[in-house]
């Protein structure tokens, strides 16, 4: 480099204009503000609920049945049992149906066929349909209509299942797609049939992802209120649903809604307590999903 060029080069490496530097600082700052705002709203909400709800939490709160008249003798047993039963039945429904659909779409369906593309587009769209629409569907086809199940756990669980099925299918497909094609080829090249390849190679590889999807779907279902109102969950159930196909049922979100609407502050404290229980269940499920993902996820 000649002597004459040196000052120019020095000026060049001194670099960015002050405007560019300010932008470099402002942009992350703006991002941080957005996060802070979201976190703040969440913290305020949680603290508010916790302040109201923690005093009512006790073993009795979990085991008593709800009351419309005596807040001090009220509890959430029937709602909690109802929610747990809903989740269990829902899982029994969505795991096989969701996994089977995902396998079909990934391993068998020929994407050049218009009906397979139609199914795919439909599933994407169904994932975005408002939950109340599923409630109406459940009311019309499950509670009344052709199946006539009545206002029972099975009808509620199937409605929630239909609601979250698209999520299970989409996540399941991603998990199946994440199994590299070299594994499929390796298996087929050894003389395994397509079924053996799916059953012994693809599914075990995709299982952690599928399980994560199921748990995330259930943690969406557990908080759903609107479809359960429509299919006729009871606001104040005095007993647990002992029979999935006969007894009326309640669920935590329904119970919370009923108490929140009550003018008495004592009942609203009960609602906050029930929210805390619901949040705890939700966090438990999400923690389970994270654990599954970290523990069993296959690095290819």
């Amino acid at each position: 480099m000649s002597v004459a060029e040196a000052p120019v080069a020095r000026a060049v490496v001194r670099g960015a204009s002050s405007g560019a530097r300010v932008r470099e600082i402002l942009f992350p700052a703006a991002l941080l503000m957005c996060i802070a705002f979201a976190m703040l709203a969440l913290v305020v909400l949680l603290v508010d609920v916790a302040v109201d709800g923690i005093p009512v939490l006790s073993a009795d709160f979990l085991t008593r049945f709800p009351s419309q008249i005596f807040p001090e003798r009220s509890g959430i047993q029937s709602a909690l049992v109802g929610t747990l039963l809903l989740m269990a039945v829902c899982a029994v429904f969505i795991v096989p149906v969701g996994t089977a659909t995902a396998i079909y779409l990934e391993e068998y369906a020929d994407n050049n066929r218009w009906w397979n593309r139609l199914i795919e587009v439909n599933i994407q769209n169904l994932a975005a349909v408002p939950s109340i629409v599923y409630g109406i569907l459940g009311l019309a086809f499950l509670v009344r209509g052709p199946l006539e199940l009545g206002r029972v756990v099975l009808a509620g669980a199937l409605t929630l299942g239909l609601l979250v099925l698209p999520v299970v299918i989409i996540v399941g497909r991603e998990a199946i797609r994440a199994v590299p094609s070299s594994i499929r080829e390796g298996s087929m090249a050894l003389g395994a049939t397509q079924w053996q390849t799916i059953w012994k190679q693809i599914l075990p590889g995709a299982l952690p992802g599928i399980a994560t999807g199921v748990i995330l779907a259930l943690s969406r279902a557990i908080g759903e209120t609107a479809p359960l109102i429509v299919v006729g969950a009871a606001a104040f159930a005095r007993f647990n649903p002992n029979d999935l196909t006969n007894d009326p049922f309640s669920a935590l979100p329904i119970q919370i809604l009923a108490w929140v609407q009550d003018p008495q502050d004592e009942f609203r404290a009960l609602a906050a307590g029930a929210i805390l229980v619901l949040l705890f269940l939700l966090l438990l499920m999400n923690a389970g999903a994270i654990y599954l993902r970290n523990r069993f996820e296959q690095k290819w």
Partner: protein
């Protein structure tokens, strides 16, 4: 262009040689096809000599005739005809995109896994047309094993990797014994016998590839197809795989796709040279076999200029 003018000559030479019951000069087996109506394999007397090289008197394990492979309506491999001999190593060489992999995958019907792939012409395996309607692709792959470019062990233990094939095929016998035999044949036993239950992902790349070879051997195939088995490996691992191939050819026929000319020259008995042909009307590119002969001949005295240009490194 010289190559263009060369081609019709050599193929007409091929045809005339063919009509003389396949006893003709070298290009006979390679330039079959163009415009020919009957294949050498249709005449039982010519089956051995017409498609395979007459000087090596081993029966053919594959007789390929007028094989075309298409993806959708795009031709990938055009009019390939030659015979692959039993218990020899046959190398497929040629530049990228010339259809070697597509071709080798049509030998054990792996192309079936690609929905758009269609095959016409015939691939006869010990005389049986592999694409006949009564043939079960799954049973084809049981007899004709395959090793891929990138080692693809299953995310299971070494033992379970080997045992997978025998298990899905319902093979009888002591599984421990089957696993040990396969690992010994894959020259891997001494390295892994103390950690059979550990995950195969913990092995080195070279070991993984030998595991994949051993895995293919576990189902006792009589042909192993290798699609660039050493391209992802270091020279020492490559050397091991080549040693292994020499041992294996006592009992199995091996077809290997390789981009490594030295490797082809070192390991193979026969070599087929593929090249890309551009269709002047449509501009589509497809692969064809230019020359098929004894490896020594292909590398020292090739009949076709394109082969010579490729093996001497002037093109490709």
């Amino acid at each position: 262009m010289k190559q263009v003018t060369e081609r019709p000559e050599s193929s007409s030479e091929g045809r005339s040689a063919e009509s003389a019951a396949g006893a003709g000069p070298v290009p006979a087996g390679t330039q079959t096809g163009n415009g020919r109506t009957t294949g050498p394999g249709t005449d039982p007397a010519a089956a051995g000599g017409g498609t395979a090289k007459p000087s090596l008197d081993t029966p053919p394990v594959f007789e390929i005739e007028n094989l075309n492979v298409r993806y959708g309506d795009k031709l990938a491999v055009h009019d390939v005809s030659f015979g692959i001999e039993e218990r020899r190593i046959t190398a497929l060489i040629g530049a990228s995109g010339c259809g070697k992999s597509t071709f080798i995958r049509s030998l054990n019907r792996m192309n079936d896994l690609i929905p758009s792939a269609t095959v016409d012409g015939s691939v006869r395996y010990h005389g049986q047309d592999l694409y006949a309607s009564e043939v079960d692709a799954v049973l084809v792959r049981k007899r004709i094993g395959m090793v891929f470019q990138k080692p693809n062990p299953f995310p299971k233990s070494i033992y379970d990797n080997i045992a997978f094939g025998p298990r899905v095929l319902g093979m009888d016998g002591d599984m421990d014994e089957i696993v040990e035999r396969a690992l010994r044949r894959g020259a891997l036993w001494d390295e892994v016998k103390d950690r059979l239950k550990t995950n195969a992902f913990g092995m080195s790349g070279g070991q993984q590839q030998r595991l994949c070879i051993a895995r293919a051997l576990a189902t006792d195939p009589d042909v192993i197809l290798m699609d660039e088995p050493a391209s992802a490996l270091d020279p020492i691992s490559t050397g091991r795989i080549e040693d292994l191939m020499f041992e294996l050819k006592e009992r199995v026929s091996i077809v290997i796709v390789t981009h490594n000319m030295q490797q082809a020259a070192r390991v193979s008995d026969m070599t087929a040279f593929f090249t890309v042909v551009v269709d002047e009307a449509s501009g589509h590119r497809h692969g064809e076999v230019v020359e098929y002969d004894e490896t020594e001949k292909v590398f020292t005295n090739p009949s076709d200029e394109r082969t010579e240009a490729y093996v001497t490194g002037r093109v490709g």
